[in-house]
Symmetry: C2
Subunit: 358 residues, 2 copies
């Protein structure tokens, strides 16, 4: 229970969701076919003191020899400068083509360490061990890796599927409240775009979720990851269906960039982006008013805003929006929903999008 | 004549070998399916004044809008620092997912611009337009891209197939003599590992080659690229057959690294590496003495050394060899030939390899 396979031909890999899975990391890695050898455990300055030793111990017990690489916590580490220090550490550690990188942390660590793995010796194995809710319900699975460029988020990156995903929901106990709540945005997204009953389940379970009851969290994480796996399996490289995962993200990314990375958390920006996408779905896709009301209510029940924060910087936002990777001429391919649980993309003009935020 | 397709399923792409092809670059790019849009023409400070304008003009004539990005000529540009400046220029130029990067130059430009394309927005189109003999007979085809790390060459990189390769042999007229001759090492390699008649053809044609007769050069370039395409088609990611392309390269790479990048040219290092691999093939693979003599004679007829240069730094060489990407424990998977035109790999100990160089 809580284990499944992401079916991706040559890139198929297992996913484990369970409280306490961290202590089985080494055996799970071996079962996934990773060679016990010189390895790197990449983590950040918040996660290292909490879970670094346990992860390293679990790896050593299974015969891995991990060099521990700790980067500064925070979005600023998704930079070329931090990547350069990671490469230096990989070289010092003598990683070779049979080595694996274990990415222990949130989305920043997963994206950064995943990109390092994608580009070290033209690609070595990476295992994703997400410790934040955003990463557990979403970013650890799917193979997107990368870093930010000063001009836009995730501008530099690669597709590189993990060989293994291990989501230990017990690690969520130590997550600061704000980071916990932002993660709920991504779970709600899966309900909104492809699973109407999940919206109802989230509505009913929200009190238990906010108390962080492990069994409830495991259910939500697994349900989210199974949805993501389904989408990624149909469309590994984001040519079609996978685009619906960007619900709330086009605006969310531009908000993050224009607010200055880090002042809005990713999930907070996505929640606002989903708010705007709900308004656009009402205007352009006949989303019924009761569906819109429920979705906005669920986001707010998770403690997330659905509207722009005070001090929103319009000009910077517009510029960031227009640098979106999915832009096409004077518009962008935008994800809308026409009912809870059903999403599709449509090209919308930048002006329409900006108007919806007002 | 001179055109063929590299058959790589989703990554299939055309190759054009002809004197004067540079002036048809734009139409060839459109024929290959590249969208006439904002683009980047990445080249270096040697090539830009010679061929930059012609390439840009050919692109504009076909509707492309190339931003010109010029990096310093030389191996030192295969660095994270130069890559960062390329990324900055791509952001300034507003490249999006439908944009292409045109890599005009030798192996350094091809590897650097190819890696930028591999990692910009998780991968955009790249066209390789090699202007050196090394790049025309070898590195422009195959999808290997990357940069160097201070500890070893090509340690950071990705597989990213070009959408188009255009080798204009007329551009070889301006190549400095030493860089021209180093390119012959890679052509000779194809004869040595998979085409014994090509060894004879190179022996016969060497005077015309050294006079740089365009028709002869076009034949040699096309024959080499067809061999490389055959190997890459069988083994895109270097799991098996493709490894034979590393004939002379295991030692060559370590020599380049230990001599300090740039003091030995790549092809010069490969020539010495082939010399040592020939000795090892005599010792370990029963390579007949006449075959060894012919191969060494051909390398020398191209004006290349088959033995270590004076001042060879043994300790640095050993260290670099042991960081080889193909290492396995106390040895490395090494390419040997048991006759002209037939190569295979075998694990050899570092000690054996080092002894063969003495």
């Amino acid at each position: 229970m809580g284990d499944f396979i992401v079916e991706l031909a040559a890139n198929a890999h297992p996913v484990h969701v369970a409280a306490g899975a961290l202590d089985r990391l080494g055996e799970l890695a071996r079962a996934a076919g990773l060679k016990p050898a010189r390895a790197a455990l990449v983590t950040d300055s918040n996660v290292a003191p909490l879970y670094g030793d346990r992860a390293a111990r679990a790896l050593r017990a299974a015969g891995f020899d991990p060099a521990i690489v700790v980067v500064a916590a925070g979005e600023a580490s998704k930079s070329l400068a931090t990547l350069a220090t990671v490469y230096d550490r990989l070289a010092d550690a003598g990683l070779d083509r049979s080595s694996a990188i274990f990415a222990l942390g949130g989305g920043v660590v997963g994206d950064l360490a995943g990109f390092a793995a994608a580009t070290w010796m033209r690609g070595i194995a990476v295992a994703q061990i997400p410790t934040t809710l955003v990463a557990q319900v979403d970013s650890a699975l799917g193979g997107k890796t990368g870093i930010n460029h000063p001009s836009a988020k995730n501008l530099i990156g690669a597709f590189h599927q993990p060989r293994l995903v291990v989501a230990d929901v017990a690690t969520l106990a130590t997550l600061p409240e704000r980071e916990f709540r932002e993660g709920l945005a991504e779970a709600i997204k899966y309900g909104a775009i492809m699973d109407a009953p999940m919206v109802a389940a989230l509505e009913a379970a929200m009190p238990a979720i906010l108390r962080r009851e492990p069994a409830t969290l495991a259910e939500i994480v697994e349900r989210s990851l199974r949805h993501k796996a389904f989408v990624v399996q149909s469309d590994e490289r984001e040519g079609g269906l996978r685009k619906i995962l960007n619900f709330g993200h086009t605006i969310g990314h531009a908000l993050e960039a224009s607010a200055g990375y880090g002042s809005l958390l990713h999930g907070e920006a996505v929640a606002i982006g989903m708010g705007a996408a709900t308004a656009l779905s009402r205007a352009c896709a006949n989303l019924p008013a009761p569906d819109a009301t429920r979705l906005l209510g669920l986001i707010e029940a998770a403690g997330l805003a659905t509207r722009l924060p005070a001090g929103w910087r319009g000009a910077e936002f517009d510029r960031a929006l227009k640098l979106d990777k999915k832009r096409a001429g004077a518009g962008v391919e935008f994800v809308l929903i026409d009912r809870l649980g059903h999403a599709f993309t449509r090209e919308l003009g930048f002006d329409e999008i900006i108007a919806a935020l007002a």
